[in-house]
């Protein structure tokens, strides 16, 4: 359980985050989504006690980060995979963490194996690619066998295979009862894995809820090879719609109604989806541009 309660933090006169409130529940992956500079990293640094909030507080399992006796055993944190000593070997980074957290040394090898770095353990981190640094950082976060994870842009630098691997790992962690807070500016990555979404823009939470709550009712994505017939079918069924391109529309109705309209109009459909591939992107840019307009 991770909770943000009205957290506000300024740097000089610049307000980085403003009255951030949300909760990450056990057993779920919470996607923390926002454009660069929206305040995701600042929020996570406040949560982890690296930055002091001007007001409000953030807690992990009901306690502030500094109150956790051995935080690495409660919450695995990866804030920046590049923030490692270039002259230290991969295995040594984990060995230091194991000594600090008091976990048995054998876990270092288990984690190296788990993240696929067993073959590169004796290399210095300065010679790692960004993807390898992410894998090392994820191993470092998991080393203390925590029940929560806080990961800032962990998919950066991972190849498609690595992203799929990470997705599976986070799913398994959450399904075992773990709490995951995962930030990204990559919409597709969050869309594929998050149960809950928190969207942040300009330092404010602009939307939060389960993925389904946020994406349902944002229209149905429709594709058809017959633009004229489809347009006519929408009009005669009285369905509001807007074109995405010459063969794709967002219809302000559910899939069943659109399907019936297409059948009545004798039009072929090639795609029909109530949470279309564009729904999250659509929602995201709507919210972010609203926020920009309000600022």
């Amino acid at each position: 359980m991770i909770e943000f309660n009205s957290v506000t933090k300024s740097f000089g006169s610049q307000r980085a985050i403003d009255d951030i409130t949300f909760t990450c529940k056990p057993g779920t992956i919470t996607g923390f989504l926002g454009p660069n500079g929206a305040g995701k990293s600042t929020s996570m640094r406040v949560l982890c006690g690296l930055s002091r909030a001007d007001s409000g507080d953030a807690t992990i399992f009901g306690r502030g980060f500094a109150q956790l006796e051995n935080p690495g055993r409660e919450v695995g944190v990866l804030l920046d995979a590049s923030a490692q000593h270039a002259g230290r070997k991969g295995r040594e980074v984990l060995a230091i963490t194991a000594l600090t957290l008091g976990v048995r040394p054998g876990r270092v090898d288990e984690l190296l194996e788990l993240v696929g770095l067993a073959g590169a353990a004796e290399k210095r981190v300065g010679n790692y690619s960004l993807g390898m640094k992410q894998r090392l950082g994820i191993a470092n976060a998991l080393l203390g066998d925590p029940r929560a994870l806080v990961l800032d842009e962990p998919a950066n630098g991972l190849d498609p295979e690595g992203i799929r691997w990470l997705r599976g790992l986070l799913r398994e962690f959450a399904d075992a009862g773990g709490t995951v807070l995962l930030s990204s500016h990559l919409l597709k990555e969050i869309d594929a894995v998050a149960d809950d979404l928190v969207i942040i823009a300009g330092g404010k939470v602009v939307s939060e809820g389960t993925r389904d709550e946020l994406l349902d009712g944002r229209g149905t994505t429709v594709k058809s090879p017959d633009p004229i017939g489809m347009t006519r079918a929408f009009e005669s069924a009285g369905i509001e719609f807007r074109a995405i391109d010459e063969a794709t529309w967002i219809a302000e109705s559910d899939a069943l109604s659109v399907s019936r309209a297409a059948l009545d109009g004798g039009v072929l459909l090639t795609h029909l989806d109530e949470q279309g591939e564009n729904a999250l992107e659509d929602l995201f840019f709507d919210l972010v541009s609203d926020q920009a307009a309000a600022a």
Binding site: L50, E69, G87, I96, T100, G102, E110, L111
Partner: protein, 257 residues
Amino acid sequence: MNAIAEHSSIQPRSFSRTGFAQLVRIELRKSIDTRAGFWLLAATALLTILAAVARAVSGEDAQHAIRPVLEAALIPTNVLLPVVGILLITSEWSQRTALSTFVQVPNRMRVLAAKCAAGVALGFGFYAIAVVMSVLAVAAFGSNVSDQWVFGTELATQFTAYVILGMLMGLALGAAMLASAPAIVTYFAAPAAVVVLASFNALEPVLKWIDPSSMAQPMTEAVMSSEEVAQVLTSAAVWIALPMVIGLWRIGRADID
């Protein structure tokens, strides 16, 4: 169960805080497990051995007694070891490892205290190496001068303070500046700067009270006068206590990025 989750992860759990001695051991390990740290410590050890032997076999007979040999053997430690102390603190910022260090141990003052303890432990360790090498070198090569083995408690105290004050100055400058290059440059340039300023005659009487070199050469030359001891204390206030207070303040309130 696999390596991801060895537990059922809802039940409340309790853990104990990492002990201070363990934090000191970890800082000692961090001082040697990087390429830079390893070579700095290896070079210091090697130069200590060379310096002890070189002083014992060359130069005038009077120089082949334990005091001058140990004085020579401690020069590498006095010059290089404080750089290890500086890097113990500044590398957390320059390499940005503070981001994970302070997430694992949120109490920053405990981390800083562990670093200072590790630095002082390194000082004693290298002091011991220098003493052993000096005794061996004098026994093997030293000539039979009258004060060959003369080394009173005053000198022993001064030599110890010489090593530890140097290390503390490195740690304090590292903490105040939180950046390797300026801290190292200040450590080496401060004595020279004071010498240059002292050539203005008006400044000279003041400067000798804040001269970091008063914590160096006079401490190993002979038993110090009480005025010299007072100068060590005032210089330590300026070059150790003051930067350490600045460092504590900066580290305590910094946003770690």
